[in-house]
Amino acid sequence: MSTTKQQPHQSTDDPRVTLDRDLGVFEPIPPYPTRTEREAEFYTLADGEMLINMGPQHPSTHGVLRVVLKLDGEKVVDLDPVLGYLHRGVEKLCENADYHQAICYTDPLEYVSALFNEWAPVMAFEKLLDVQVPRRAEYIRVLSGELNRIASHALFMGWMALDLGGLTPILWSFIERDEIVDMLAALTGQRMLFNYFRIGGVNGDLNHEFMSRLGDWMSRATEQIDNNMGLLNENEIFVRRMRGLGTIDTATALRMVMSGPNLRATGVPFDVRRAHPYSVYPELEFDIPTRSEGDCLARYLLRLDEVRQSIRIIDQCLHQMPDGPVMAKLPRLLRPRPGRAYAAVEGPRGQYATYAVSDGTDQPFRMRIHDPSFIHLQAVGVMMPGHLLADTMAIMASLDPIMGGVDK
């Protein structure tokens, strides 16, 4: 805390406010007049309540997230997430890039499942251009996408335990994830931000190294996942901590427009792969696991069920993979006719979608990216009140938000 007297200075938050106190002195939050009804409500403290700041650099916020918590003792009364620390303006960047270039900007959004970030815009552009994607390319997309889903869920499992204070599972799940990531690196040339899906197909055909690694992994995948599951599912401390934590019911989940595993954990079998089929998913057999509890444990177990289904899909893809080209014939410079297209995929976190508007030039006129992490982080505000401060991380981790996607 500084003791030297400062000149009066303008607040960085609100230019109308001049602060004449020492810079080092802790300011009450917010230092400016409240702007909205909700903000006024949140920043008005009842007797015994206090505000505490978590983040932006907190080890368990999965990125750069700041949360202002309103506490009564150790109980969370309300919270106000403050976003924007990772905002890169991807939508604006895409408007200033041509259709091929736009795809690589979307890669770092949800950086642990980058293939899905490419998939939705690519599908939207294909709709704008009326391109028919070769069937082999569709199968390769599904195959690599499901691998990426497993990698993402494996990481989720590790993070979940890490946020509860267990250090071992993340080391185990990284073994799983590293194998898949190396496999995808052999296929796409990149470990995380693949830039593999192209408008009209994929960048390259399956190669020998990828296939041999995949075959090797598939032979022991189920066993390995059962092993990993045993580490946590049979751990009484973990299960009792997670059960009944952050419960959300079906109606509220739909009102909060949640999707993906977080919605299915409340009992709604909504999965874009079945609800609005795309690619070759109608030809593949798989179940949509659901659970009815809607708490952290349900969300955690549901993702493990999904991993099993993904392995089933990969197995079918390998058996049904047709021969043929992996790219449609397209000109280098794409100028779709003016129009609008919406495409959604089921990512590991839920419905990931793109709305693209074309004005007939070679750049998208408007490209909207709908990210499930963003939506789910909002639902923390509904789940959190009444829980203890230490449960904030557990609840947030069970929703699996990726700040790269939240902040776009």
């Binding site: 702007r35 427009v257 609008r340 919406y342 709305y355 004005d359 408007r366």
Partner: protein, 182 residues
């Protein structure tokens, strides 16, 4: 494409539609005025033969001439995505009723549309900036946006077209706004 669904929409919302119901690939699109957002969304959400209970997306669009708010909805009653375009919002003072009375989760999406386009969602309890800093003055995704505030400090200022600090002086301002087919 669900042809029967198009006919159903036309009979149900005939008077409120401001443009033809269009269909392409797996999407059905209807246009309404900003004033009809509440009754139309309520009908789409509540009526059992429509029953659009999942708000897939909410986005703002600046066409260069007008502002739009675009809702994407999903229902079990049709295999199509339904796109509802609230059209014809003025660029000077875009106002539209909030959808938070049906979907509480639309709150942040509306905050994002406000942050990026300056669209005012009447009835949203928490309409403040979400990505940009609170003292930020302009709306980055508008078509007349020239990154005026940080480009001056950027090493690419004046070189890269995206980071021009202002419009070239010899061109009429109206010519600089990219106008689209939306």
């Amino acid at each position: 494409m669900d042809r029967a669904f198009k006919a159903r929409l036309e009979t149900r919302f005939g008077a409120t539609l401001t443009g033809p119901v269009r269909q392409r690939h797996d999407e059905t699109e209807m246009r309404i005025g900003a004033g009809d957002v509440v009754p139309v969304l309520t009908a789409l959400h509540d009526e059992p033969d429509l029953h659009f209970e999942f708000l897939a997306d909410l986005a703002g669009v600046d066409t260069g001439e007008v502002m739009q708010v675009v809702y994407h909805l999903w229902s079990e009653t049709t295999p199509d995505w339904l796109r509802v375009i609230a059209d014809g919002l003025s660029r000077e003072d875009p106002r539209v009723p909030s959808a938070t009375f049906l979907w509480k989760g639309a709150e942040w999406m509306e905050r994002e549309a406000y942050d990026m386009f300056g669209i005012i969602f009447e009835g949203n309890r928490d309409l403040r900036r979400i990505y940009m800093p609170p003292d930020y003055a302009s709306f980055p995704l508008r078509k007349d946006f020239f990154l005026p505030d940080d480009a001056a400090r950027s090493p690419g200022g004046g070189v890269r077209p995206m980071e021009r600090t202002q419009a070239p002086s010899n061109v009429p301002t109206t010519a600089l706004v990219r106008r689209g087919g939306a």
